[in-house]
């Protein structure tokens, strides 16, 4: 019967090689999945919407200068594309292993959980990067249309790099919450609430109302993606006092992270959440 019988002793690959194996097949799964197609369509819709609005209404903020164009276009929308990519590819990356029972196929093999986790992380990051790069290409194509290839500012290169780092941090956060839950809906919901609303709300509460720099908020650090496209670079702290009648005023404070500070926030979020997610996954039980 068993024609698969062999006398050879298979040598189990190194953990690093197994990361590559895990990455290869989960990337294949991502690229073929409906979610990749949906994310692609959403990205193209955002890009198409901006292309049509700029071409039709020709807003001053976009067309007054090349830096202004990239600041308005890229600075306005890329963080949204990044967060969506993180949610789509990382939101249920680990919780899905429990809920969809795919973990039962991979885990009972001679492979460390960390190899599965890192492989999945890299594949999710690569899938999100492909969406991110598509959006960057569309942005650049529009910029070249209006300002020519010489109008591509060097600051955009930095912004692109910072945005890519931010994508890594967002993926870390998504993987962390994905590891915390065994239910995909919960993990996606928590990631969406935190990345799309929670961080911004915390940031606003601390800076605008209390006047404390929200250095502990990821989206605050990600501000460098847009700030680098402003000339001059925004001041670290801007206090606005607005009279609201009867000798009363409203004071709001806007903070802008410096580039080293922003990179540090993004880097710390990436490292801490990715490692925490891995530790949680290592201990999580398939009950």
């Amino acid at each position: 019967m068993n024609k698969t019988e062999t006398n050879s002793n298979n040598k189990v690959p190194s953990s690093i090689a197994q990361v590559g194996i895990s990455m290869k097949y989960t990337l294949l799964e991502y690229v073929r999945s409906r979610r990749f197609l949906i994310m692609l369509i959403i990205t193209l819709l955002i890009a198409a919407l901006l292309t049509i609005i700029v071409a039709w209404r020709r807003p001053e903020g976009f067309l007054v200068s090349n830096l202004g164009f990239y600041s308005s276009w890229w600075g306005l929308s890329v963080t949204f594309v990044i967060i969506l990519s993180g949610i789509f590819f990382g939101g249920d990356a680990i919780s899905g292993e429990f809920q969809n029972r795919t973990g039962y196929f991979g885990i009972p093999n001679p492979i460390r959980r960390s190899s599965i986790y890192v492989g999945k992380w890299i594949s999710a990051f690569l899938a999100a990067t492909s969406i991110f790069l598509l959006y960057a290409v569309i942005t650049i194509a529009n910029g070249i249309y209006y300002f020519g290839s010489s109008g591509l500012p060097y600051q955009f290169g930095y912004s692109l790099l910072f945005a890519w780092f931010y994508l890594a941090a967002v993926m870390g956060v998504a993987f962390f919450f994905s590891s915390l839950f065994k239910n995909s809906t919960y993990s996606i919901l928590v990631t969406v609430i935190l990345l799309l609303f929670g961080f911004n709300l915390i940031s606003t509460l601390f800076s605008d109302l209390v006047g404390i720099e929200p250095w502990f908020v990821l989206t605050y650090g990600a501000g460098i993606i847009g700030n680098i496209l402003n000339s001059p670079y925004p001041l670290p702290k801007t206090v606005t006092i607005t009279p609201i009648g009867h000798n009363r005023t409203f004071t709001s404070t806007v903070f802008a992270a410096s580039i080293p500070e922003g990179l540090a926030i993004i880097g710390i979020y990436f490292i801490v959440t990715t490692i925490l997610g891995l530790l949680v996954f290592e201990r999580k039980e398939f009950t």
Binding site: N2, T4, V12, L28, R32, R101, P108, R113, E285
Partner: protein, 318 residues
Amino acid sequence: MPFSDVPTIEAVKLTKQYGSFVAVSGLNLKIEGAKCVGFLGPNGAGKTTTLKMFTDLIRPSSGDALINGINVHTNKKAALASVAAIIETPEIYPSLTPREGLSMIAEIRGVPATEIKKRIEEAVEEVHMSEWLDKRVGRFSKGMKQRINIASTLLSSPSILLLDEPTTGLDPRGMSEVREIVKSLKGKKRLIFMSSHLLSEVSEICDEVAMIDHGKLLVYDTISNVTSKFSGGANLVEVELQHPIDPQLVTQRIAKLSNVNSAEQTNDTNLRIRFSGGLDTQERLLSDLVKMNIGVISYRPASSELEGVYLNLIKETV
């Protein structure tokens, strides 16, 4: 004794506790050698929990799960290198095809790249899924997925197979095919540890049986020893004959054969014979019946005997 040639799985005071609920309680069980061991117990007895602790799906609260002497939780890669397992009903990523899913497992297990294609095609042929090899798994039924899972265990010639109710979700034909695969693996230096609710399945496939309830091992022995020990010291065989038999022959000759406790006719062509002893006695009894030229066309241990033992043992622990 790490890396012994004899496949071994061993639970040493293996315990799994969820709060105050003890799923597996100080389980001590050592199984070694090429054989098939059925793992029996009612729902919630701790069968799947035990198998999960042997495959890194859950961690023991205390104690050790050892495979070939290697602790699964401190050295998982080495421990599971010689193990293939199906726990519950695993799912392959739905956008992958069986070829891709099985390639992933083959690569993880270190099957040489030059052999992967051939082994996958052979394994899939074994489970009669060749025509689905390049279709996406997401569209498969539960039974089809389980066949692919069975194929995954054939890829790397593991010396130990841990199977958690492997025929779950399969149609009768699929169940029969899986049993044949498991039986054939038994003869190839494999240790198979298989949980099942189906006592007839265990009787048919397995050489030994381990019974567990409330997380505690009740008995581990050969099926014939278990049935003789726990069913009033007698085994039971059912004999089918080609022609009707003279009732006097039953009472005067068959019932008086060596080690036979009783012989009764259930109808003209069927007998139930109770005897004391193990497999050797069972073999000699068959030989004696054949020599009597009574037209024996079928001779099999009655699964109801194992069922009786099972029910008695489980009842005692309730």
